[in-house]
Subunit: 378 residues, 4 copies
């Protein structure tokens, strides 16, 4: 089987999920290529070395340029903080490498656009890691919507709730906390959590015409881990918006890190003329489904345990009743990316799809400032 040599930039949380995906995909999917964990790159050589030892990377680099330029590398995977995405992705594209990039693509739509231009000019395969599209329940929702099961869509409702930054003692910036640093992250929950909600929504329900948003920073200043000083917090702690989709449906979106009791509660609900769907990341192996066409007295919300062999991806795993978890979504993404290489039909979300999400997050942030309805990309 032909190999794809992977150069991994970053070794944090996402470095782990991606490495696991590349390691596991051939154990469960019959796909035409085998990813090989070739090189991992991090500024700190010791940490990179420890990560390489754990995951079986063959070599270690401390400068990402060496990875991008290496003739042994086929695919550059960017799992480093947001402020590094553009430079690395553009260089990798120019070097003719396949590129995969953690979300969000750039820290703004403008930045993302430079990346998209680069990969499209270079004609290299590219993909953003919006992994939640490949939760089997979410993929199934997409299939049902495309089949027309729901009929005309009236409502879309999404939220992503966490509670990990409520304490005012939590510093901002630095390792493990760069998501709180506006310069590195680009925004707070809008680009982090809402971006997931938006990517899924654009995929399931089409384009968003306009948004009205509000954001809030509950804790106005925090100690910065890199400077050691208390500094103003630049990111948004919470972000919510109303939206009108191009298909005429109405939507509410919300993300926050101040929802006590929720760790990663990403939920969405879609109400159509004939049927409705609800999904929840905290029980990701279930899809809630209501079909008005059921016989009257028997109508109810079905809690579908998405573990059967006729559910997306599930014939590759265990037996009915036995659930998979979070990391499997990344494995599915690699499997589909590789299938796309073979078939010539690129797997989504491409960088261009990632840009579409960034245009919405930009509009959200603009609207929160202007107090006006704003149009994505407008």
């Amino acid at each position: 089987m032909q190999k794809i040599n992977v150069g991994m930039i970053g070794y944090g949380f996402m470095g782990r999920t991606h490495s696991n995906a590349f390691s596991q995909v051939n154990h469960f999917f019959d796909i035409p290529y085998r990813p090989v964990l070739k090189t991992v790159c991090a500024r700190n050589r010791d940490r990179a070395g420890a990560f390489a030892a754990r995951w079986g990377y063959e070599t270690v680099e401390t400068d990402w340029r060496a990875v991008v330029e290496s003739p042994e590398i086929d695919l550059v995977d960017i799992a480093s903080p947001n402020d590094t995405h553009a430079e690395i992705a553009i260089a990798a594209a120019q070097a003719g490498k396949m590129v995969m990039c953690e979300k969000p693509l750039g820290r703004s739509a403008a930045e993302s656009e430079t990346i998209v231009r680069a990969v499209e000019a270079a004609k290299v395969p590219n993909m953003v890691w919006y992994n939640y599209r490949r939760v089997p329940a979410v993929t199934l929702a997409k299939q049902w919507i495309d089949e027309g099961r729901l009929g005309k869509i009236f409502h879309y409702r999404a939220k992503f709730l966490q509670d990990w930054t409520i304490s005012s003692d939590l510093p901002q910036g630095g390792e493990g906390l760069w998501r709180l640093d506006i310069n590195v992250a680009g925004s707070g929950v809008t680009g982090d959590l809402l971006a997931h909600c938006i990517d899924t929504a654009l995929w399931l329900n089409g384009g968003i015409a306009e948004v009205s948003a509000m954001t809030e920073t509950f804790i106005k200043s925090r100690k910065h881990n890199l400077t050691g000083k208390v500094e103003p917090v630049g990111i948004d702690d919470a972000s919510a918006f109303l939206a009108r989709f191009r298909n005429g449906s109405l939507a509410t979106f919300e993300a926050t890190r101040y929802a006590r009791g929720h760790k990663a509660l990403y939920t969405f609900e879609i109400n159509g003329e004939h049927a409705s769907i609800f999904w929840d990341l905290h029980d990701l192996h279930r899809l809630q489904y209501f079909d008005h066409r059921d016989e009257g007295a028997t109508r109810g919300w079905r809690s579908i345990h998405i573990t059967d062999s006729d559910h997306p991806y599930m014939k590759n795993w265990w037996v009915p009743g036995l659930q998979i978890g979070y990391e499997h979504t990344f494995i599915h993404q690699v499997a589909d990316f590789i299938e796309g290489l073979k078939s010539g039909k690129p797997a989504a979300p491409t960088f261009r799809d990632g840009l579409a999400t960034d245009e919405v997050t930009d509009a959200v942030l603009r609207s929160a400032k202007s107090g006006q309805w704003e149009r994505p990309g407008g």
Copy 2:
């Protein structure tokens, strides 16, 4: 509209639920008779008087014989402790009164049989207050089973879990606590909670062929409120049994007052060839339903909110989405009893149906002693 004058014996928890049922039924059901709260009877005249004032009873008695013998009374309703049922019911029947009786009918099948003989000899309408049959979700389950929706039944599973007697400080006997007194109650959870499970099961799934049971009294002695002394506890605190139904299905039944965290968790599940049903008293307005004939990938347990107008009894209440509660089951029972008077087709459960349940509880208690499988009524 023709009146039915009710003589109520007892003023406790069940006196309240029954009085409420008689008061409310004509507000919600178009039925051919109107129950009138004529007389309430209790040994303590003050308490009876207060109860009468609250509910609008016209008169008060302290001797149940006066009620039974009164020419003004059409229907004697027995809501007093178990040890009073037989004597009052038999006298009422002999006096030609309609008789309604709290469950269990007697303290043993033998006692119940004397009551059945009396009402059948007197040919008076009679009914036992096994109210859970008339939770709309349970009634709907019965309809679906009778229609054959579930197909051949393989399994029946019921339990009734409470936790109110765990403390060893709780006395036995006397007001509010007679259910812990073996002489008054006849048994512990077997005749109290399991009897509900059995009544529903016999109705939904037919006769029980044989049982193997175990019982336990966790607290062996308690202070008796009437004697003031610590006395051995005669009742069973917990009771469980295996059963084979005549239709070939297997069952497990359990009741206890030692299940921490459950107040009145009566649940049953029925697994059939084609479909399964689950119900739970703690959310009594829901019926869980799984239908294997649904299209494969969409199969799931439906949580049906039993508030639509095509659900049993519900067109008489509010609008879809708005739930009813516990006391409504008693109102439904009165409505059906009165319909049965008019139609000549007596509403179940009659006293004979109540006896069938007592034969099972007797077999359970026998089996718990003998360590053998026992046959109800055998």
Copy 3:
């Protein structure tokens, strides 16, 4: 016990819930007055007569003025469509009657203000039937918030979802459908469903500073039952808004009649620094509660079955584990109203409280038109 003679205007869905409340309250609550169902008023004498017979009203009127002017009436209860509220309420106040009024108080804040002025000038006891405050779980939430259990509030989230007007065949206007007639109802879901959400929110979380809203009418024209012609639909089918509360918390609100699968799914969630609360009308006897102060590994959302005697109102009902339903909220409201008469501390929500809600709904409708953030009462 002193009587309060009730004159009921209207005999529809709300006429039933109110009549039931007045009938039942003394059976379950020890309160110093006894409401008497004196007169029911409806334009159609036959229907009024049938209603009176069912509920035990002593007399029937066809002109509400006769009720308002009758010296026998102590309390006028307005359960007729929204366009009648102001005229009747003002007249009743001027006649010195106590006044209770279905929600929303008026069809606009301006209309409501005339009503408030009248009752305050006349100094008559007054109350709006925002019944959901008195679901025991909701009342308990209020107590906990007032005790400071949740700490600083960050987020409020409410929605009220129905699906009963999706069909384009449904006519507007006329009996049973006046909620679809803009002239009678004043607005669509905003004044109907959102008003409930807003009343609860103002009570639990204080005043709303500003809102940004959108509304939609999915079906643009429907046959009007009174004219027989197809006419433009004036009401909003769906309405959603972002809000900032005065306490600094952020909120999303949404109501619709186009959410397939939901009959009356009113839910709210409140996220505080220390604890969070979630409630759902479809399982109204449960309160979900998360307390961050619990020991780490044991933290979880508690599903509290609100049936214990230390839960609000519940010692007046049955025993732990046995749930009550929708109609009980009205009974609780009457009980509290009567307690307020005795204590001299008027039970909320008074008409002035109802006006506060109408000021928010007005701001919502204004914002939906202007595309701007709007301030209630501003």
Copy 4:
């Protein structure tokens, strides 16, 4: 890091879960040894070869004796059908190999005893793959019970429900269906599903004193895939029993393959004096917990999302809120096995622990025949 060369016998469902566990364990756990997938053995060389290619086994064998005798193999893992366990395990022990064996250990307690004697005589590390002990929620339950959080235990309730053999068209025996062949499997659901329930129960709640059981074979004859003939079915399709634990608690156990709507619904509930616990394999990342010591009005069942870093095993996985699935339990088991090698304190369940479960399943099958209460090992 020192290697442990694994010789895998079998390549079916369990061959996959075990191979995955050995592959993944060092990616997530810092343990002192690294398992190496050395050899896989299956009678069909092509299949073994395909399996080896997929998982990276270095060599392939078709005779398990070659694996057992190979000096390169440190650990023999038995993932082949039940009728092969004893012979292979005994030979492996005699060859001085570490032995891991799929459950149940033998087809009867007598067979298991011969295995136990062999490993204990050889003093080789040994473990049975009762994987559900290492679902983090289940491990947490064990910790809490051992800490005394629950207090005295009154009740244990377990069931394992499936529905995959309801069709009478399903053949028995042969590849993928050997679980229906009495000669290969030893029993039906008793040794397959109930054994899981019993292993967990013995671990959590101690020994079982006596049982009363019933079993049923709903489909009496099926085509046998190996003979091509319709033959009597020897296995039990359903099995249920009552039990008394040595600690005085009462239990009900049930397993079936005829519970329509359930794929692998293994649940258990434990009721103690102070607290109760409920767990469900269909949502294996949640633990339900009720603590009576909570403040009265706030008591409720907590749904604990077992994804925090202070939950067992979870600091090795992702971040709070992100769930793991079924296969992770096997990874945990390998991690603990290896820790046990290092520490010298063997990880449970050892083969002797597996024998204890088989003694209970034997007693269950005996009781189902005798109609008497039977004592495990008695």
